[in-house]
Amino acid sequence: MLILLVLAAVLALAPSPAGAQAPAADNCATCHLAIGDERLEKPAKAYVEDIHRAKGFGCVACHGGSEKDAGMEAMDPAKGYIGKPGRKQVIQVCARCHADATFMKRYNPSLRVDQATEYATSVHGRKLAAADDPKVATCVSCHPAHAIRPPSDPKSSVHPLRVAETCGACHGNAKYMEGRRLPTDQLAKWRESVHGKAMIVKGDLSAPTCNDCHGNHGAAPPGVTWVGNVCGQCHTVMADLFAKSVHAKAFVDMGSPGCATCHDNHAIRPAGDAMLGLGGDAVCATCHGEGDKGGRAALEMRGLIDGLAGRHRAAGALLDRAEHAGMEVSQARFDLNGARDALVKARAAVHAFTPAAVRAETAAGTAVADRAHARGTRALDELAFRRKGLGVSLVIILAVIAGVLLKIRQVDRRGRATEHG
């Protein structure tokens, strides 16, 4: 009874608006915080920092009801009160505003309004629609209700640095994912991958995380035939070369997932020359051997790249020696950048899977590296000449000193001989 009196008194205050203006007094929150029930307090406490509250939306925007009425009358289903939305209802509640372009334009003109449409195409959305799967993610699984922040906020569950944790809360939880055909090591693998390390260790927010490859609202595994398009969002040169290569069709025929066939999907390691060829860590050896055309091409491409890498390294080392010895080789070093560019391009050209494409890059790079090497050699030759010159000068100086001493001795002796004679 006391609670009802408190509710009535508090709700008698000015009603909160459902829309654009910040609520003068949030009746729902006031009561929820006063009741003393932790379950009811929690959303009211969390909502203080929610982006929707900051934009002036009160509880009734999602939960319905009437903010003009006090007490329990505000929560009358006849007045649109829905309480806690059900799983399917959540999508509708959010989409009511977020799928309305005219409405959303008033708050964030650049925000997309197709999240609900995308969600319907996702594995989550399809499973929810088909079987009302109680475990699949809905809006509030990733955007926690009452504590929603914009993705640019580092505290947001969908900030680039936290997306993996958010997805991993379910997908990295073996118990939660029990009975599903999906593995649960994706998060651990991604953390160790070149992408994960770029994001976590280097703090590179442009590094891909879960949603960059799987989509966010339309989250689904990339299909075998379009993995290249996904990777190609960033790795455009390699994706273009791959799409025109013999492997594009061959991989589809084999049911292999494009780029992921060689580079893996979540555990993508830094690409290196060791992946090319037929020995050790070479991925080509998975399908090819020395006896087939592909194997021979792999070996030839590896040879071309190793050749240029070796020449680039040798020229760089030579210029280092010359520079450390005090010779001016900055122009040669500047020009050697061209060989490094060619090496990087040659490594990208491997994705055409033809030695000719690689050779086109390595030939130009080799010429540049050889020129730089020759200039380094000349610089060291000049250094040797100067050192020899210094040695000769020292010998001459010593000879002068010796000559002067001998002359002095001679003059002294002659003087003494004259005195005695």
Partner: protein, 148 residues
């Protein structure tokens, strides 16, 4: 004491001394003359470089690569006429970037990375913006410096 007045020995010492002095002068004068003639490609690796370009040589919506120590830099004149300079080393895998007048962007051919005219990475794999340099056009000279 006869050997003291030995003429052949005296001549040898005179010749030896005269030859040594001549060689000594040569050894001193040669490096001095080499020092006075400037080297062909001498350039400081310090934080400022004066470009071998005049401001009028760089047309609007164009860019030029220049040597900054042993590293490449890129000087860009925007369509609006402003001169800007950045390190021309791509932040992805260190390739040398170039200016694309058709896009009005700085572009890396190695992996198709794009940078806007503030040096910010806007497309492709580059993870960071290009290092920005300070450009000062002093009369007919363009001076590019590292840092603000």
């Amino acid at each position: 004491m006869a050997h003291v007045d030995d003429p052949s020995r005296r001549r040898f010492v005179d010749w030896f001394l005269g030859g040594s002095v001549g060689a000594f002068l040569l050894a001193v004068l040669y490096p001095v003359s080499r020092y006075l003639v400037p080297p062909r490609a001498g350039e400081s690796a310090a934080g400022t470089v004066t470009l071998a370009l005049k401001p009028d040589d760089v047309k609007p919506n164009s860019g030029q690569i220049f040597k900054f120590g042993s590293r490449p830099g890129i000087l860009v004149r925007t369509a609006g006429g402003e001169l800007r300079a950045f390190s021309a080393v791509c932040t992805h895998l260190n390739c040398t970037v170039q200016y694309r007048p058709d896009l009005s962007q700085i572009w890396c051919a190695c992996h198709n990375g794009h940078f806007d005219l503030n040096g910010k990475n806007v497309e492709g794999p580059p993870p960071r913006p290009l290092e920005a340099f300070t450009v000062n056009a002093r009369g007919n000279q363009i001076v590019v410096s590292k840092g603000a």
